[in-house]
C-alpha cells in the first residue's frame, strides 16, 4: 500500500478513536444535563406566599406574624379578582340562583309553620311565594331580556307586601334586583359559552390563588393552597390569559392548536378587565421570593408528592443499603481473606471462584425472584417472621447481589498489601492469624472501604431486586425491620410513570431522580479519591 494512504488511515483511525471518547462525554452530558437542571429546580426556585403558608401549616416552619402581614397584603389585591368574577357570575351561573330560590322557598315555608300560621292563610301566602319563585326561575332561565324584565317587574310588585317583608322571602327581591343589574352588559345568547369558559377561568383562579377565604377548607391538601411556585404560577397565568382550542383547518388532517385570548372572548362583559388586572398584579397577589428549599431532603411528602420532599425515600434507601452492608461486609472480607491467605489451587477453590463469578453475572431481576421465593416466602418465616415484603428481605437480597463485588474488591485490597509487611511480621514471630489481623488488614482497610463504598453506590441504585421484596411507592415510615419502605430508586420509577399527581409537579419527579444520582455520584467520588490515595501510598513503597 502506498505510504500516504497508510498515513491517512493512521490519522483517521486516531481521529475515530478520539471521537468515540468525545461521544461518550457528550452522551454523559446529554443524559445528566437536563435531569440535573430540572431537578435543581426542586430545591432552588422562587416560592410564593402560598408556599410559605403551606410550610407553616404542614411543617411548622416560618414566622406566623410576618406571614399574616403578607397574607393580608395579598388578600387586598385578590379581593378585586373574586369580586369581578362574582359579579359576572351572577348573570351567568343561573343554576346557583335557581337553587337559591328553591332554598328560600323552603325556608319561608318553615318560617310560616314556626310562626304558627295554618290553614287557608298558610296556603295563600305559600302559593304566592311559589308563584314568585317560579317567575324568578323563568326569568333566570330565559335568554330574552324582555321576558326577564317582565318577570322581574312582576316579582318586584310584591316588595312591600306585608306578609313577605322581613321574612326569608324578602331575599327574592334582592335577588331579582341584583340579577337585573348584572345582566345589563351580557349577551344572553352567549351564556352557555360563557358558562363553559367561566368554569375554566374559575378553576385556574382556584389553582392560582387557592380557595376563597370565605369558603370551607377543601378536604384534600393539594386543593388547600394556590400556586406554590412562581414558575407554576406563570404557567397558570398563561393558561388564564389564553385558551387553547383544537380546530380543524383541513379535512382529514390532524387538528391544529390555536390560542385564543380570553380577554377577547369575554370582550364587553364585566369579566374583561380581570385578565389584564391579574397579569399586572400577579406578583402582588403571590409575593414571589427566591428560596433555597434544602429541607426537600428531609421533608415527608403529601400523597402523590404534590408538596413536600423526599426525606422518607432517602431514609429508606440509606436503611436498605447500610443494612445490606452490615450483612455483606463480614462475609465478603472473610471470604476474601480465605481466598488470599489460605486457599490453594485445588478444585474446591476453583469451584468457589466460579460461583463468585456466577453470582456476579445473575441478572438483578432474578435476584428479585430469588429474594421473593427464598427470603420472603421461606427464610424469614422459618424464623417466625411475617411472610411479606419487608426491609429485612430487601436488604438480604441486596447483600447477596453485592457479595461478589465485595469479595473482589477486598481480595484486590488484601493482595495489594506488600509482601514485605507480611514477611516482616511473620519474621518477628507472630502467628499467621495475628499477622493478618494486626498487619495486613489495617493496611488493606482503605482499599476494602473503597469496595464498601462502591458496593453501597451500586446497591442504592438497584430497583429490580427490591420491587417485590420490600419497596412500596406510598406508605408510612417503616416502624420495624418487618415493614416495607419507600426508596429513592423505586420512587423514581413510580413517579416517572405511575403517579398521576406527580405528573403535575415535574420538578418533584426530577428532584427525586437527581437526588438519587447525586447520592450515588458522591459515594463514587469518595471511592475514587480514596482509591487514588491508597494507590499512591502503596505505589510509593
Amino acid at each position: 500500500m502506498r505510504p500516504i494512504i497508510r498515513q491517512i488511515t493512521d490519522k483517521a483511525f486516531t481521529f475515530l478513536t478520539g471521537t468515540s471518547v468525545v461521544l461518550l462525554t457528550f452522551v454523559l452530558l446529554i443524559v445528566l444535563g437536563p435531569m440535573v437542571w430540572r431537578g435543581a429546580k426542586a430545591v432552588i426556585f422562587k416560592d410564593t406566599v402560598e408556599f410559605r403558608k403551606m410550610q407553616l401549616d404542614l411543617y411548622n416552619r416560618g414566622n406566623p406574624a410576618s406571614l399574616k402581614i403578607q397574607n393580608t397584603e395579598a388578600e387586598s389585591f385578590r379581593k378585586i379578582v373574586y369580586e369581578t368574577i362574582d359579579t359576572f357570575k351572577h348573570g351567568i351561573d343561573t343554576e346557583e340562583l335557581i337553587d337559591r330560590t328553591k332554598q328560600i322557598y323552603r325556608q319561608f315555608g318553615k318560617e310560616l309553620r314556626y310562626k304558627g300560621i295554618t290553614g287557608e292563610e298558610y296556603q295563600k301566602i305559600r302559593s304566592l311565594a311559589r308563584e314568585l319563585r317560579d317567575k324568578l326561575q323563568a326569568a333566570f332561565e330565559s335568554n330574552d331580556k324582555k321576558i326577564i324584565k317582565e318577570n322581574v317587574d312582576y316579582v318586584l310588585q310584591y316588595r312591600l307586601y306585608k306578609d313577605l317583608a322581613d321574612t326569608a322571602a324578602a331575599e327574592f327581591f334582592t335577588l331579582a334586583e341584583d340579577f337585573l343589574k348584572s345582566i345589563e352588559n351580557i349577551d344572553l345568547n352567549k351564556r352557555q359559552q360563557y358558562a363553559g369558559s367561566l368554569e375554566q377561568v374559575e378553576e385556574i383562579v382556584f389553582r392560582l390563588l387557592g380557595p376563597k377565604p370565605s369558603e370551607p377548607l377543601p378536604a384534600l391538601t393539594m386543593d388547600r393552597y394556590g400556586a406554590t411556585r412562581w414558575d407554576l404560577a406563570q404557567k397558570l397565568l398563561d393558561k388564564l390569559l389564553w385558551s387553547e382550542q383544537w380546530i380543524q383547518k383541513e379535512a382529514g388532517q390532524p387538528l391544529v392548536k390555536i390560542r385564543v385570548s380570553r380577554a377577547e372572548e369575554f370582550a364587553g362583559t364585566k369579566l374583561e378587565p380581570l385578565f389584564s388586572y391579574v397579569q399586572n398584579n400577579l406578583d402582588k397577589m403571590l409575593l414571589p421570593r427566591p428560596r433555597f428549599y434544602w429541607q426537600y431532603f428531609i421533608d415527608d411528602s403529601t400523597p402523590g408528592h404534590y408538596f413536600g420532599g423526599v426525606g422518607p425515600e432517602i431514609l429508606g434507601t440509606l436503611l436498605l443499603t447500610l443494612l445490606a452492608m452490615l450483612f455483606v461486609f463480614p462475609l465478603g472480607v472473610i471470604s476474601a481473606a480465605y481466598l488470599v491467605e489460605c486457599a490453594s489451587d485445588n478444585i474446591a477453590v476453583r469451584i468457589i471462584r466460579m460461583c463468585i463469578n456466577t453470582l456476579a453475572g445473575v441478572p438483578s431481576i432474578v435476584f428479585g425472584l430469588f429474594g421473593l421465593a427464598f427470603f420472603v416466602l421461606f427464610f424469614i418465616p422459618l424464623f417466625g417472621g411475617p411472610s411479606k415484603p419487608c426491609i429485612l428481605a430487601s436488604s438480604l437480597t441486596l447483600a447477596v447481589l453485592t457479595l461478589p463485588v465485595m469479595i473482589r474488591a477486598s481480595e484486590e485490597a488484601i493482595r495489594s498489601v506488600p509482601q514485605s509487611y507480611k514477611e516482616a511480621s511473620l519474621g518477628l514471630g507472630a502467628s499467621r492469624f495475628r499477622t493478618f489481623v494486626k498487619v495486613t488488614l489495617p493496611v488493606a482497610l482503605p482499599g476494602i472501604l473503597t469496595g464498601v463504598i462502591l458496593s453501597l453506590s451500586r446497591v442504592a441504585g438497584e430497583t429490580a431486586p427490591i420491587l417485590f421484596t420490600g419497596a412500596v411507592a406510598l406508605g408510612p415510615l417503616p416502624k420495624s425491620l418487618f415493614d416495607p419502605t419507600r426508596t429513592l430508586s423505586y420512587g423514581s420509577y413510580d413517579i416517572a410513570v405511575g403517579d398521576r399527581l406527580a405528573m403535575m409537579v415535574p420538578h418533584n419527579q426530577y428532584g427525586m431522580v437527581v437526588t438519587l444520582v447525586f447520592l450515588i455520584l458522591c459515594l463514587n467520588t469518595i471511592a475514587i479519591v480514596l482509591r487514588a490515595r491508597v494507590f499512591r501510598k502503596l505505589r510509593g513503597n
Partner: protein
C-alpha cells in the same frame, strides 16, 4: 478508619432503635387497582388528618394483586375496578375469607386519543378492529393518514378486564399493542403520542387527551349512571365479611356515603353512586 466504621454502625443502630421505639399506631392496609387508587389515596388523606393515630398504606399494583392480598390476609381492604373472578372467590373461601363488595363509585372506561386527532367517535366494533390490528391507519376511520399506535393496559389490570369484556368481546388483542402498567402511564402515552389510542378510567380525563364517543355516547356523569354509556362499570372495595360497625375499615368503606367522600369522588373525576 475503624472509628468511621464504628460511628456508622452506631448511627445505624440509633436509626433502627428510634423507629422501634415509635408508638404503636393503628394500621389499615389497602391494596389493589390503580383506577380506584386515587380515590383510596384521597380518602386515606382525609382520614389521616381526622385520626392522627391511624396509619393507612395504599398499594396500587393492580386489581389482581389486591384480590390476592385479601385472599392471603395481607390487606384489610382490596380496591378493585372489577368484580372478583371465580377462582379468586374460590381461593378466598378456601382460606376462610368471605369477600363482601362495596361499590364506592362508578367509572367509565373511556377511549382516548390525542387532542389533535380529528376523530371524535368510534363504534365498539371499530375499536375492536383497531385493537385486533385489522385497522392500522387513522385514515381508515376518518382521521389523518398516520399509523395508529395502540396502547392497552396489562392483562392483570381490572381496566383491561372491563375493556376486554365489554369492547373486545373477549377476543384477543393483536400483537402490535403496546402495554403499559397503570392508568397514569396510559394517559401519559396518549398525551405525548399524536397517533395513539388508549383507554383510561374517566377519572383520568383532562384537557391533555380527548375522549371519544363510543357508539355515539360521550362518557359523562349522566350517561354512566343511566347506563347509556356502553363501557361503564362500578368500582369496588372488598373486605373480609362486612366490617365491624364502628371499626376503621367500616368507616373507610362507608366514607363514600358522606358529603366529603362524595366531594372527593367528584373531585377525582369519578361518578358518585348517590346524587347528593
Amino acid at each position: 478508619m475503624k472509628r468511621i466504621i464504628v460511628c456508622g454502625l452506631i448511627m445505624l443502630g440509633l436509626v433502627l432503635a428510634s423507629e422501634m421505639i415509635a408508638a404503636e399506631k393503628q394500621a389499615l392496609q389497602i391494596d389493589g387497582s390503580t383506577t380506584v387508587g386515587p380515590i383510596a389515596d384521597a380518602f386515606a388523606e382525609a382520614f389521616m388528618s381526622n385520626y392522627p393515630d391511624l396509619e393507612i398504606t395504599v398499594k396500587k399494583t393492580g386489581s389482581g394483586d389486591g384480590a390476592a392480598a385479601l385472599v392471603d390476609g395481607r390487606c384489610d381492604i382490596a380496591i378493585m375496578s372489577r368484580f372478583m373472578k371465580e377462582k379468586e372467590f374460590k381461593k378466598a373461601v378456601e382460606n376462610g375469607i368471605f369477600p363482601v363488595a362495596h361499590v364506592v363509585a362508578m367509572d367509565g372506561v373511556c377511549a382516548v386519543v390525542h387532542p389533535s386527532n380529528p376523530v371524535t367517535q368510534l363504534s365498539t366494533s371499530r375499536i375492536r378492529d383497531i385493537y385486533k390490528g385489522k385497522i392500522t391507519n387513522w385514515k381508515e376511520v376518518g382521521g389523518p393518514d398516520s399509523p395508529i399506535v395502540v396502547i392497552s393496559r396489562d392483562t392483570s389490570s381490572g381496566t383491561y378486564e372491563t375493556f376486554h369484556g365489554l369492547v373486545m368481546n373477549k377476543e384477543e388483542m393483536g400483537s402490535k399493542v403496546e402495554y403499559v402498567n397503570s392508568n397514569p402511564q396510559a394517559h401519559a402515552r396518549v398525551k405525548t403520542t399524536v397517533g395513539a389510542i388508549g383507554y383510561v378510567g374517566i377519572g383520568f380525563l383532562d384537557a391533555n387527551v380527548k375522549a371519544l364517543k363510543i357508539n355515539g355516547i360521550l362518557p359523562s356523569r349522566q350517561t354512566i349512571t343511566t347506563g347509556q354509556y356502553p363501557v361503564a362499570r362500578p368500582l369496588f372495595m372488598f373486605t373480609n365479611g362486612y366490617p365491624k360497625l364502628g371499626s376503621m375499615t367500616y368507616k373507610f368503606c362507608t366514607f363514600y356515603l358522606t358529603e366529603t367522600g362524595q366531594e372527593i369522588i367528584e373531585a377525582k373525576g369519578f361518578v358518585p353512586v348517590t346524587n347528593y
